[in-house]
């Protein structure tokens, strides 16, 4: 680990300014991802701005009847929140399908959204990786790619984005709220927040340097049955091969978003019109244009069957 300096910011704007002003500075929230990556020298920040004192740890109603989740609300608190459990059950289910109790106690909403890929080559600093070290190449292409993306990938990177929570937020049409160093705020729809790799896989999302996430807002509840099914090689404590977040209404209509298949939560709204026709109809729309590798092409069938399982469960 490289040595670094550390400070604790008092206000969001101050935190944003502190990171913006210093090349190589980063925010530190729960640290469950950033510190691991620092120990492995995958991330090598020179300065850490700790955001824990920013009082962004509240969950409040919005004027529109939705919910505003502070950036520092822990995964545990968010999953356990009574309103979330009642009105946005898919979010609770997604969060508790991830990591472990201990990690969720530390992990924050913003930190979770910004967790980095679990591509095994990203983790080994001896290997080429465009996401870790732009321009070095992608070791995963032609390598061990079983876990990696089947859609939205590029010739520069085929990594997946590993968050479970974000899949549910994408499904719920969440919005990310930020503040920049100059104090300006903006809202970014979750659909636009994470980037596909293209030829700049090093940029996971649309945030600018020093831009701080202050909250994630959810629109009004949409009713329906909320389900999250995460499929993996063991029963717990592993990242998804494929996951499906779905809200399904009594008439069989609904929405579905997929995790473990792309560099962002994967949802194709147009394909959801086919929800009443069954999983195959939806999946063929969602995965049109997929470019899996030989090792991970099973994920497309798996996604379809997992959606079928979720639909059957919703029927009860």
């Amino acid at each position: 680990m490289k040595s670094f300096t550390y400070e604790r910011a008092k206000t969001p704007a101050q935190a944003a300014a502190a990171v913006a002003k210093q090349q190589g500075a980063k925010f530190l929230a729960g640290g469950t991802n950033l510190l691991d990556l620092m120990k492995l020298e995958i991330e090598t920040p020179t300065h850490l701005v700790d955001v824990q004192d920013l009082k962004l740890d509240r969950i409040e109603r919005t004027d529109e009847g939705g919910l505003r989740i502070g950036a520092l609300v822990t995964n545990t608190a968010l999953a356990a929140d009574a309103t979330v459990r009642r009105d946005y059950g898919v979010l609770t289910r997604a969060i508790v399908a991830g990591a472990s109790g201990q990690l969720r106690n530390k992990a924050t909403t913003a930190g979770n959204l910004l967790q980095r890929t679990r591509c095994p080559y990203f983790y080994d600093t001896n290997q080429p990786c465009n996401k870790r070290k732009p321009g070095t190449g992608c070791a995963a292409i032609g390598g061990f790619s079983r876990q990696l993306a089947v859609i939205g990938s590029s010739d520069h990177c085929i990594a997946t984005y590993p968050s479970d929570m974000a899949v549910a937020m994408r499904l719920l049409d969440a919005t990310v709220e930020t503040v920049k160093a100059d104090g300006k705020t903006r809202s970014i729809a979750m659909a636009d927040f994470h980037r596909l790799p293209g030829d700049t896989p090093e940029r996971d999302n649309e945030l600018e340097r020093g831009e701080l996430i202050t909250a994630v807002t959810l629109p009004r509840p949409i009713g329906g049955t909320h389900l999250y099914h995460k499929v993996r090689d063991r029963a717990s404590y592993a990242f998804a091969l494929v996951s499906v977040a779905a809200v399904i209404q009594k008439d069989g209509s609904g929405r579905a978003a997929f995790g473990g298949v792309a560099a962002r939560p994967w949802r194709v709204e147009a394909a959801e019109a086919a929800m009443t026709q069954g999983a195959r109809a939806v999946a063929s729309g969602v995965f049109a244009g997929a470019k899996p590798t030989e090792e991970n092409q099973f994920k497309i069938l798996l996604a379809e069957r997992t959606l079928a399982s979720v639909m059957a469960q919703a029927k009860g």
């Binding site: 070791a139 029963a235 798996l302 997992t306």
Partner: protein, 738 residues
């Protein structure tokens, strides 16, 4: 003490302490964090500095330059060692294949190439990243499947007896004539020991004397190997390893942590501690090699095997050994016509070597799947097929009987307790909601090796006993069975016995590995206790043969004296060992199990969930049913991992195991493991040792993978012959969903 004839009645048969379910005496220390593991022995030497290991970034080639100057100048750095400090590799230790350190040649990924010692761990780690290394890459061989077709035979036997193919009868003719046959190819992947405690050592020098506080299963091997590697006299080395956080064979041999800590301590004149970083563990050290196996079975219509072919190809570094996946097949089922061979390809992947039940684990995963396939083809119950083909003698040498073999009883008992009769012979018949339910079984088999083992026991003035041996407790419960043995032999309560293990200054024991630890180490202690009893009797004026040791007293006739009285004028020490005569060669000493498993497979996603597991074990006298059960259920977990998820993923271009940490090399978690049950038949085996016990530590793993695989097949009707059975391998063929 030489063990040459079957054991007769002896004090162990009293079973006042032995054979009782006894809590581990090290348990409270471990659950309260008071048992110091190697890296935590802060008190053994003052001024400990921290080491950090640098692993090679390529799999094959050589280092052209290494610049350590920036690392040397970094804050807190005491010394930086480079593999280029040595013009060739340090001498190989016992059983090692890959060199641990020294020279410019890189033989495998993450081979140790440099070592940084600093005042703090963080400083050492930071400095390590400043080392600049340039390599010349060679083209390596990294693909077993590609290398297999041209791999040479690995002959069995040696000298004039060496044979490429072992043959009994005429396999080809018998197979061709058999009315029912199967012929299948199977694969098992490389697996990692993935123990919790990494390789870790603290090394300290006092003039020319070196002590390592380390984590190792085989103290005497480790001492001898370290002496060789560092060109030291063995008497100048002390190895101490009282607590070991798992090894599974990964800690049988000397590893780089010990070598580098010793070299680092020498270079900086201070004790040095190091724990190998987790991401280095898998490629730096050894693993269970992958195999490609073929089995052909021919049988009569009533299930009698007439022809068996089992062959296996694995790969290793040059001069390495094969994974002996055919070993159990030679012993398990007799058929008049048999043929076996091993082939060994050369690859430049990390070293393949022993992992818990080497040979049997992958061999049985395959053999017992093949038997399941044969049973189905015969229309015969899988249990009955095994029963019909049981043998009470070594099929390779029918003049050698098994000392005991209650395999049929294991199977019958297991079938009854498990409710085997409820299994549908036809697969994919049982549904519960979205779950496809299936049952499977398999036979477990593992030798129980006999090997020399010594110990010493001292009667203190207080009447308390102290046991000393270099035997290790790798989390298995050795401390407790040693205390039980001493307590039984000397007639005292178990809490009057103190057991000190893992110190190379103590008598040399069997060590822990190959499921030979418990039976041999307790037998060695038995011998030492016999010596001590003689001294006690003499001291107290008894005839040793008549004296009864019980309740803290020694008695004969109507005279009874407190045991402690014997040590009134000073402690008495009995030291001896067990050594085995022909008896263990004339008889085949093995252990047996029947494994039964029920699984549920998600009809949509193909995810498998184990529902129930039962193992019925025949492994001689069970010394401590509690720790023996722990051994078996732990091994069953390992078997679940092997069947369902564990696989070292090979990058065939860069030549290394890609999933080299515990996040990506998945082993079972609690949620994967359901109710587990273990039944011991518990037949004392008088031809095994004076303890009449056998090994149990590996038996629980043997066969369980196949039982799971067979249960999955029974649930789904899809036979997957490439382990591990991950959902992608059967997803497409699962029964249609409604």
């Amino acid at each position: 003490m030489k063990f040459e004839t079957p054991a007769t009645q002896n004090p162990i048969d009293q079973m006042k302490v032995i054979g009782r379910a006894t809590d581990r005496i090290d348990g409270p220390l471990k659950t309260t964090g008071m048992a110091p593991y190697a890296y935590e022995r802060h008190d053994v030497a003052s001024g400990q500095a921290y080491g950090y290991i640098v692993g090679a970034a390529i799999a094959k080639g050589r280092i052209t330059t290494m610049d350590t100057s920036r690392a040397k100048a970094a804050p807190g750095v005491l010394t930086v060692l480079s593999t280029l400090d040595h013009d060739k590799p340090l001498p190989l230790g016992m059983m090692n294949i890959a060199h641990l350190y020294g020279g410019a040649e890189i033989a495998h990924y993450h081979q140790a190439i440099a070592f940084v010692v600093a005042e703090t761990f963080e400083q050492a780690r930071a400095a390590a990243s400043l080392i600049q290394t340039e390599y010349a890459r060679d083209k390596g061989r990294f693909d077993l499947a590609a290398a297999a077709p041209s791999a040479p035979y690995e002959p069995s036997g040696s000298g004039a007896d060496a044979k490429d193919i072992e043959r009994v009868g005429d396999f080809a003719a018998a197979y061709a004539a058999a009315p029912v046959t199967i012929d299948q190819r199977y694969t098992t992947p490389g697996e990692s020991h993935a123990m919790m405690e990494p390789f870790a050592t603290i090394a300290g020098w006092e003039s020319e004397k070196l002590t390592i506080w380390t984590s190792n299963q085989m103290i005497a091997w480790n001492k001898g190997s370290l002496a060789k590697a560092l060109s030291l006299k063995p008497e100048n080395i002390r190895v101490d390893s009282p607590y070991i956080g798992g090894g599974f064979g990964g800690k049988l041999f000397l590893r780089a942590d010990a070598v580098l800590a010793a070299l680092g301590a020498k270079a900086c004149g201070r004790p040095v501690k190091v724990a190998m970083q987790r991401p280095l563990m898998i490629n730096n050290a050894t693993h269970r090699p992958a195999t490609i196996q073929r089995i052909q079975l021919g049988a009569t219509k009533d299930g009698k095997l007439t022809a068996i072919h089992h062959s296996s190809t694995s790969s290793n570094l040059p001069d390495g050994k094969p994974e002996t996946a055919i070993a159990q097949t030679k012993m398990l089922y007799a058929a008049p016509n048999r043929e076996y061979w091993l082939k060994l390809a050369v690859t430049d992947l990390p070293e393949g070597n022993a992992m818990r039940a080497p040979g049997e684990a992958p061999g049985l995963m395959v053999l017992e799947m093949a038997m399941d396939e044969l049973a189905e083809k015969l229309g015969m119950d899988p249990v009955e097929l095994r029963v019909v083909n049981d043998t009470q003698v070594d099929p390779g040498d029918p003049s050698r009987p098994f000392s005991q073999r209650h395999l049929v009883e294991c199977l019958r008992t297991g079938a009854e307790k498990f409710g085997w009769s409820r299994r549908h012979a036809k697969p994919a018949q049982v549904r519960e909601g979205k779950w496809l339910i299936g049952m499977g079984m398999a036979v477990g088999f593992r030798d129980s090796p006999n090997t020399k083992s010594a110990a010493r026991i001292r009667l203190e003035k207080t009447g308390r006993l102290t046991v000393e041996t270099d035997m290790t407790d790798i989390g298995t419960g050795t401390y407790t069975i040693m205390a039980q043995t001493a307590a039984e032999m000397m007639g005292v309560p178990i809490d009057h016995v103190k057991v000190i293990l893992g110190d190379s200054d103590f008598p040399v024991s069997a060590g822990s590995g190959g499921q030979w630890g418990a039976n041999n180490a307790t037998s060695g202690l038995y011998a030492a206790c016999v010596k001590l009893r003689e001294q006690v009797a003499q001291q107290l004026g008894f005839n040793a043969a008549d004296a009864i040791f019980a309740d803290g007293k020694v008695s004969a006739g109507n005279r009874s004296v407190p045991l402690a009285d014997a040590a009134r004028s000073g402690p008495l020490t009995g030291e001896d060992g067990i050594d085995y005569g022909d008896i263990v060669k004339k008889n085949q000493l093995s252990t047996f199990a029947g494994h039964f498993v029920e699984v549920a497979v998600d009809a949509y996603t193909g995810e498998t969930r184990i529902r129930r597991m039962l193992a019925v074990c025949d492994a001689g006298r069970i010394l401590n049913p509690k720790s023996a059960r722990s051994q078996v259920i732990g091994a069953m977990v390992m078997g679940a991992g092997a069947a369902m998820m564990e696989e070292l993923a090979v990058d065939k271009r860069f030549g290394y195991f890609v999933n080299h940490d515990l996040a990506s090399y998945e082993v079972p978690v609690h949620a994967d493991i359901p109710h587990q049950e273990v039944i011991f038949l518990d037949y004392p085996d008088d031809k095994s040792s004076p303890m009449k016990a056998k090994g149990i530590g590996e038996l629980g793993l043997c066969g369980v993978g196949a039982a799971i695989a067979n249960a999955i097949y029974n649930a789904t009707g899809v036979r997957v012959r490439d382990y591990p059975i991950t959902l992608d391998k059967h997803l497409e063929k699962l029964p249609a969903i409604a």
